[in-house]
């Protein structure tokens, strides 16, 4: 019997990733950190992509 184990791509959508990888988890700030993804920036980026949206509230 073979069971299809879903791949990561099948299980996880960008929406789930937005909520976790992009929006939670430790953020390390400080002079020696080169680049830290800014949450507002991420949502702005997604806002740009969702061209059909006229109003989209930023995450609380």
């Amino acid at each position: 019997m073979s069971v299809h184990a879903p791949t990561l791509q099948e299980r996880v959508t960008l929406i789930e990733l937005v909520d976790r990888v992009l929006n939670t988890g430790v953020v390390l700030t400080g002079d020696i950190t080169l680049a830290v993804a800014d949450v507002d920036l991420v949502y702005l980026g997604l806002r740009v992509l969702l061209s059909s949206v006229s109003t989209l509230e930023a995450a609380a």
């Binding site: 990733l17 909520d19 939670t24 020696i32 680049a35 920036l41 992509l49």
Partner: protein, 259 residues
């Protein structure tokens, strides 16, 4: 001292307890967010960071900000970040880092582990032996209303009745969700409720009305069973519950301790 070749930085995925062979093996075959693999464990003390080399052309500050607007790139990179953390989590407790933490030198990473040692140690203790489960609730779109009114006055009455109904349903839904969260919290060590995502983001007809995460023991199924029960109980009212995971514990790190 390990120095990266020019124009390379080190991307951080998460922090584990002392570097061990299982974790090292779990990440050595992975491609990582940059696609080139080469993931290593950094740090020889009681904490180790999972890191991988990335090109600064792709992950430097300016480049990264631009790429955040590229949905395909973002989806691939975020998936890669998640994949690394899931594989690490199979081997050891891990404190997830948010997407986008890039450092110029591995020395910097070691220094960071030293500087934030107590915070990372506390964060690790909180999540060891535990997993995060996501719970979402979805509300089906409202069905079409009554037949059109025959007169202006009847129309106004219809409108007022519809508003009253909507307000009552809204209160009822809020109570149902509060009760559901309370029941789920009883079956978890901790829980958080996050803002639901709008339809524009989910692309679905139904509306996300609950977006929660819970920290549970790794082999504890009580919460999963409760979600199934909630779904059974409320499905005929058009309210569905679903559980996802296990996830690395993104929602259960105390960001304040790292500021």
């Amino acid at each position: 001292m390990i120095a990266a070749p020019a124009a390379t930085g080190w991307y951080l995925y998460g922090v584990v307890g002392a570097a061990d062979e299982r974790v090292r093996r779990s990440v050595e075959q992975l491609h990582g967010v940059g696609g080139a693999g080469g993931l290593v464990l950094v740090g020889g003390g009681s904490l180790a960071a999972v890191a991988g080399p990335v090109s600064l052309h792709e992950f430097g500050e300016e480049a990264l900000r631009e790429r955040l607007n590229d949905r395909d790139w973002l989806e691939r990179a975020a998936l890669a970040h998640e994949e690394v953390l899931e594989r690490v989590a199979e081997a050891a407790a891990v404190v997830p880092l948010r997407f986008g933490s890039v450092h110029l030198r591995l020395d910097d990473v070691e220094a960071l582990l030293d500087a934030r040692g107590p915070a990372f140690a506390a964060a690790l203790a909180r999540v060891t032996g535990r997993v995060e489960l996501g719970v979402k609730a979805w509300l089906e779109p409202r069905r079409a209303g009554a037949a059109p009114a025959s007169s202006g006055r009847a129309y106004l009455e219809q409108l007022r009745d519809a508003r009253r109904r909507a307000a009552a349903e809204s209160r009822e839904l809020a109570a149902t969700l509060a009760s559901a969260h309370a029941r789920l919290l009883e079956r978890a060590e901790e829980g958080v409720v996050n803002p639901p995502q709008p339809r524009e983001l989910t692309g679905r007809e139904d509306e996300m009305v609950l977006n929660a995460a819970y920290l549970v023991g790794a082999r504890d199924e009580a919460l999963i069973l409760e979600v199934a029960e909630l779904d059974d109980r409320h499905r005929r009212d058009g309210l569905r519950f679903e559980v996802t995971g296990p996830w690395p514990p993104y929602n259960f790190v105390d960001q304040g301790a790292f500021a």
